[in-house]
Symmetry: C2
Subunit: 497 residues, 2 copies
């Protein structure tokens, strides 16, 4: 009992040190940990179970919109990266390079060494993203308009060498999905890119309970090789923004780089239009930082590996048996409703220890059941989001828990939305901009002259970047907060993860 209770109490609070709170929480809630390999994480079973829930839901959404999964090689020949000029600068630099294909025993018996005779003719890059290898393949798959659209997604690991890493938020290896589609017309590709942004937003809001702002990136923040990058931006509890998903309109750039042409219905030959889009295990970081509190993780019911935990309260074996028998019946009733429920029958841990553990792990609903509850035909039900308890009639438990889970899901979204609403500030001067950024944080809506120079200078002076040009932003005349030049739309600034 004492160990985990102490751990729960010892969790650094968000106001003390937000960053430390996050790092501790990820490890203590058993989500992930650093491995013996620099920058690479181990995703523990509890963290992976959340990722599996995300995968299942996204996969369903992708398939419902006509996408199919496929799998492309982990390795990309170095020369492929040189084919799309802007792409190579963005991706081929900080990456893992395979140069040899064999080890051997050192002749001096000192251990195993890289065999110098097994040097690759051309180095292979561990994929940081797969546009190049996929478009090299699409050339063979696409000849006619009949082959289009080609709507493919891949679930995979990717590697981007990172100097400063943080669990889930920035790791050298991470898991993600990457969609890569090919279209006959520019219009269709643009619609696909926008559709996927909308699917990501739908997933973030309705499944993860994270409100997001949809928009497009400025030129300097675009994906390397894209003509337009659509994104969803979320706001964390420390007032910093987090890019939760991106969807790129790639124009004909990759088709030209890899010579992918098709014969249109009218017989003319043209390059194919492309999109790519992805979300990653970074979403787990967003999940944690949006909902969790000083007691630990808070998981929205839709994503929770266990939505309900039942904890038996007892003094002796007789009570234990009676309480567990009753609890098993409740488990069945809840499962009939499709609720994911766990009964923690372990007698190696005390109830108080278990209460703390499931609080730390963010299980949405906790039911305690003891001999008195059986007598009174009631149950004590606690909700993780509000940290409140109520007494519920035994007879209606399944219906009540079902409603409660829906309410928690809604409440978490509303809470996050309220936070964001109070953390979007309109400013009209650079002084005000800096003041708000330092005092309150959050998103700042301000006029910008549309130039990369201004964007760069604001970034250098304040560390704030333009998160996006919001899709729903209305036309409004104004002057750029930095340069004083005219502007016709406000953009969204923030410091970001």
């Amino acid at each position: 009992m004492p160990i985990l209770q102490a751990m729960g109490k010892n969790l650094t609070t968000r106001t003390e040190d937000y960053s430390k709170w996050y790092n501790e929480l990820v490890v203590k809630a058993d989500l992930a940990e650093n491995s013996g390999v620099r920058g690479c994480m181990v995703i523990k079973p509890y963290g992976y179970a959340i990722w599996e829930k995300m995968q299942a839901e996204l996969d369903r959404m992708f398939k419902e919109t006509g996408h199919q999964n496929a799998y492309f090689p982990l390795f990309i020949p170095k020369s492929y990266f040189s084919k799309e000029a802007s792409h190579v600068d963005g991706f081929a630099k900080e990456c893992a390079v395979v140069t040899h294909y064999r080890l051997k025993n050192a002749e001096d018996g000192s251990g195993i060494i890289v065999d110098p005779d097994a040097k690759l003719e051309e180095e292979l890059i561990v994929r940081p993203t797969s546009e190049t290898i996929i478009w090299d393949t699409y050339r063979k798959w696409i000849q006619s308009y009949r082959d289009l659209p080609l709507l493919i997604n891949q679930w995979a690991n990717v590697v981007r060498w990172e100097m400063r890493t943080r669990l889930f938020l920035r790791t050298s290896e991470f898991l993600w999905q990457e969609g890569h589609t090919a279209h006959a017309t520019k219009q269709e590709a643009l619609e696909e890119a926008e559709q996927m942004m909308n699917i990501y937003a739908d997933f973030a809001e309705n499944f993860m309970a994270i409100p997001v702002i949809k928009g497009t990136k400025t030129e300097s923040e675009r994906f390397a090789g894209a003509l337009e990058t659509y994104c969803i931006e979320a706001l964390m509890q420390d007032g910093k923004a987090l890019q939760a998903g991106t969807s790129h309109f790639l124009g004909q750039n990759f088709a030209k780089a890899f010579d992918v042409k098709f014969t249109a219905q009218d017989g003319k030959l043209d390059y194919v239009w492309a999109t790519s889009w992805g979300v990653s295990t970074r979403l787990i970081g967003a999940l944690i930082m949006t909902h969790s509190d000083d007691k630990g993780l808070v998981i929205p019911p839709n994503l929770a590996p266990d939505q309900v935990v039942i904890i038996p309260i007892y003094r002796d074996v007789e009570q234990y048996n009676a309480v567990c028998d009753e609890a098993e019946i409740i488990v069945k009733e809840l499962r009939t409703k499709g609720i994911r429920v766990k009964l923690d029958k372990r007698d190696t841990q005390k109830p108080g220890w278990k209460f703390n553990e499931y609080e730390l792990k963010g299980v949405p609903v906790r039911i305690a059941i003891g001999p008195k509850d059986i007598e009174s035909k009631t149950l004590e039900v606690a909700r993780r989001d509000m940290l409140t308890k109520e007494i519920i009639s035994r007879d209606t438990i399944a219906e009540k828990v079902e409603l409660l889970l829906a309410e928690i899901q809604k409440n978490l979204y509303q809470k996050a939305l309220n936070y964001r609403k109070t953390h979007i500030t309109d400013v009209n001067t650079f002084e005000e901009f800096k003041e708000i950024l330092e005092s309150k944080g959050g998103f700042i809506r301000a006029h910008w002259d549309g130039t990369t120079e201004t964007e760069e200078q604001i970034k250098n002076l304040t560390k704030a970047t333009i998160r996006c040009i919001p899709m729903d932003g209305k036309q409004e005349s104004g002057i750029c907060i930095f340069s004083g030049k005219p502007s016709n739309k406000r953009v969204l600034f923030a410091k970001a993860y």
Copy 2:
């Protein structure tokens, strides 16, 4: 119409050239193809959909037996491999080695080159299997018997540098699952290893319709680092065996190599007992070679992405509309029964072309529907396994197709089982052994003296290896076919993939 029909007709037959038939089939049925990266394949959407079906079923079986998924790093520091002596010889030799973490633009403008300043202090190996990185992690997770058993599985890509590759059967990168469990006692670990072999056998037989023989490997065929390797062995249509899954009892080898100890209930400190087990995309190769024929792929209904395809027959738009309307109703009826059905409404391809395509792709049941069928209230139903057709009453279509799918599943298993039964031969002399191996192939049950020397010599002379010591083999006195020394059990020999 002509193109694919020609392709179907042009498929090399199995008797002409089995190996060529296989290679053509994989590509023409849209399962996979070679990529621009040596030895790495692209798994196309149709092939990947089959893998997803396999994954879903195996994942369910693993979870039902208490296993959880997690994810460990792709990279393993070179030194980790040296820690388990026999493991390094088996795995660390032919592998992809990451030596650098950055590329840069060449100063002479010739392109991008590996940055010599970005050399890793210690090389990283792209995982060929994850025992070492996982046991390095388990050291932190296991302190007490309360932490055991630890039952973890990982779905991942692995890389083993192969000089001669074949799609699905042997590729440098492949997809698999690897289970890694830790136990307090030897007995429990042995039971786990045997349980997983049984789960693989259950999956192969009841889901893939592939009969398998369960057994243990001889010492020389064991996994590098294992004390016992359990396996399931299948027989392909060319008389060669294919190892379809392995499950290893690792003793305390990895616990000792990575110093993983636990405090037992009695307070004593001991090393942990381990197992590991895996199946891979190689299973798709086994699937193809077990069931398919000269017309193309044959997929058991349980694994088929589409179990039923409906093809409209029509002469004009009016007929097209009427037939498609009726077909849509049939689709709904079948889906109500949980049947995966596809209606191919494309009017860019003729029915004959479609018939060929779905034959090549192995869709278990094909329904053709034209104006006459609507009139007569019947449907023409073709089954892929037998290449037969029958007329079925429209009213009972859903029930009939459901029964038919079950029958096809059963028939494919029975057919493969019959083939195997007639291809297990008992021999008592080495002459007979060689004769059977060359003329008939298949499994050969023969006495063996139990020595690695004899096993090696037989292999060198005939290319046949001991596939396994069957679990159900009975005690029987005899003499080794090669050495003439005494033996008390027959073992199973075959040439193998």
